[in-house]
């Protein structure tokens, strides 16, 4: 468990956070640029000095009398630009941290990380002969090879174009599945957060305005993050498993607590854990089940909450599907015409479900 409390006034903005972050899984620090998410990450790394307290499990890294310098903190840090040492080869870069952490990994562990990031063929190259995506993968491996207790990633994909991004994301997803250590992942990209995060901390103006498990937090209508921060990307993610594959139509049925949805078959085996993302704009509401519609996914649901959206013509409606929830973006006129109220039994029609790994 990571307990971080920082208070510090910088020119132009003040960091003021008090967070307890889970000791496992990926926590996204999400917010616009200037919201303080990178500053917070740098404070946790010790690269920035702010007043406060920081502890990882029972180790205190900073309080009123202690400040453990960065090079004595067992962290891995991935910068926005890969920051490989240009005077060292890829192998030299990997060795740099391994030599100094006093924890040279066994050959098998070294190989595992090299394979996980797919950099086995790059070891003899110089950093300036790598693509942006390759460089970032080497930087991640370099950080992991120091056996950190905490991995900090500062928008590792932000400096890459879309193609490079899509090249790295699968590696990050594998990390997510395999890593035992907590990861703090700074991002302003909703799609990255939806794919990678288990928890989310929403930063704004130097403060954490919301935090919690990703699935719950994205479905909270009392927070402005859905309508204001995410805009067109407002929506929820659901964790589920593949329960059926229809080879005829190339579809897979994903079961989650509260129902099942059909998605395009992503090639996952039965029982495989997957995550789907349902955007609010792709969900509509009907009072009767629609059988003469092209929409595959039509689930019984209960209206839980109705809130105003950013535009006055629109409303966000939270629909409970068992233990899960989806959010629908409707016009206020439709919500009124259907007489939607909390507790009403309706059908959620989901036009598009994205399988995101």
């Amino acid at each position: 468990m990571i307990a971080a409390r920082f208070r510090h006034a910088y020119p132009g903005f003040a960091l003021d956070v008090d967070l307890t972050l889970p000791g496992r899984g990926v926590t996204a620090l999400f917010g616009h640029s200037g919201s303080g998410k990178t500053t917070l990450l740098r404070c946790i790394a010790g690269l920035e000095r702010a007043q406060g307290r920081l502890s990882i499990d029972d180790a205190v890294w900073q309080d009123d009398t202690t400040f453990v310098p960065t090079h004595r903190r067992p962290i891995g840090y991935v910068f926005q630009e890969a920051s490989l040492f240009p005077h060292l080869s890829v192998q030299g870069n990997l060795d740099y941290g391994m030599k100094r952490c006093g924890c040279r990994p066994a050959e098998a562990d070294f190989q595992k990380i090299i394979d996980l990031l797919g950099i086995g063929t790059l070891l003899d190259r110089q950093p300036d002969r790598l693509s942006g995506g390759e460089r970032q993968r080497v930087a991640i491996a370099r950080a992991l090879l120091t056996a950190p207790r905490l991995l900090l990633m500062d928008e590792p994909l932000a400096a890459l174009d879309l193609a490079r991004k899509n090249e790295i994301l699968p590696y990050l997803e594998r990390l997510h599945d395999e890593l035992e250590i907590p990861v703090l992942y700074v991002s302003h990209a909703p799609d990255e957060v939806a794919r990678l995060a288990d928890h989310i901390v929403v930063m704004e103006g130097g403060r954490a305005v919301a935090q919690g498990p990703l699935t719950d937090t994205l479905a909270r209508l009392d927070l402005p993050i859905l309508s204001l921060r995410l805009g067109e990307d407002a929506g929820v993610v659901l964790d589920g498993t593949v329960v059926e594959r229809d080879e005829n139509w190339q579809l897979a049925r994903i079961g989650f607590s509260g129902g099942t949805v059909w998605v395009r078959d992503g090639g996952h085996d039965l029982g495989h854990h997957v995550r789907v993302r349902i955007l609010a704009r792709d969900v509509s509401v009907a009072l009767e089940p629609q059988h003469d519609s092209s929409i595959l996914n039509c689930l019984p649901a209960e209206v839980a909450e109705i809130a105003n959206d950013a535009h006055p013509a629109l409303a966000l409606v939270k629909l409970k599907l068992g233990n899960s929830a989806v959010v629908a973006r409707l016009t206020r006129r439709s919500a009124c015409g259907l007489d939607l109220k909390p507790g009403a039994q309706v059908y959620a029609q989901i036009k598009a479900v994205a399988l995101i790994g």
Binding site: H71, F85, G97, R100
Partner: protein, 224 residues
């Protein structure tokens, strides 16, 4: 061709430039590192003092060094007390003067090189468990290599080209303080133009080769 006293002057010049450059790399590196990274108020004044020899006539520098290192100067009394004697008109007096005189030509390229590295590689090194000292030697110095090359060449070449300071501090003592530039002056005064040509032409060739080396060996110097 060169006579034995010419050769002696050449050897003395190379020795002076070599010793001065070595000392300057030792003294100048920490100063350049500090100047490149400090946010202190002192950065401006210290940088200006280091750069003074670029602007001042060498005679001014030589004059004050002569006073300070002379029998009544602070440094002079210190060296006498320490049993070293007086520095002016000795080889080591020339070395001290040259260190001041050539300081900006070593410090400034190093400072530029350190500034060009930026904060990021050092932060990356810290997150990989390198202490600040470790990061300096394992990251900053290798990355500043072009700067070290430039600083060495300029420091060496500039010391070879000294004249005014040498006359003020060193005088014109054969085998001790008579360097090539002074030797040329003596030849010209004595109307020995042929001898002056050999040395002067040699200096032109030497300077050209040094600068050629600087501009061809160091293409990364301009790279961002």
């Amino acid at each position: 061709m060169l006579n034995p006293s010419d050769w002696s002057a050449v050897w003395l010049t190379l020795k002076l430039a070599g010793v001065t450059t070595a000392l300057l790399l030792l003294i100048g590196t920490p100063i350049a590192w500090w100047l490149a990274r400090t946010r202190s108020w002192w950065k401006g004044p210290v940088g200006a003092v280091v750069a003074l020899p670029i602007v001042l006539p060498p005679t001014v520098l030589g004059f004050y060094l002569l006073l300070v290192m002379g029998p009544n100067g602070v440094v002079g009394q210190l060296t006498q007390w320490a049993g070293i004697g007086l520095l002016p008109f000795t080889f080591w007096g020339l070395v001290v003067a040259s260190v001041f005189y050539s300081m900006p030509f070593v410090v400034q390229p190093l400072q530029n090189a350190f500034e060009a590295i930026g904060e990021r590689p050092l932060e990356a090194a810290a997150t990989l468990r390198a202490s600040p000292r470790d990061a300096f030697f394992s990251v900053a110095v290798p990355l500043a290599r072009p700067g070290f090359l430039t600083a060495s060449i300029l420091g060496f070449a500039h010391t070879v080209g000294e004249f005014g300071v040498v006359l003020m501090i060193g005088g014109n003592i054969p085998d001790k303080t008579r360097v090539v530039s002074v030797q040329i002056y003596d030849h010209v005064e004595a109307l020995e133009y042929a001898e002056a040509h050999w040395l002067a032409g040699g200096m032109v060739v030497f300077s050209f080769l040094v600068l050629l080396a600087l501009y061809t060996l160091n293409p990364t110097g301009r790279k961002k």
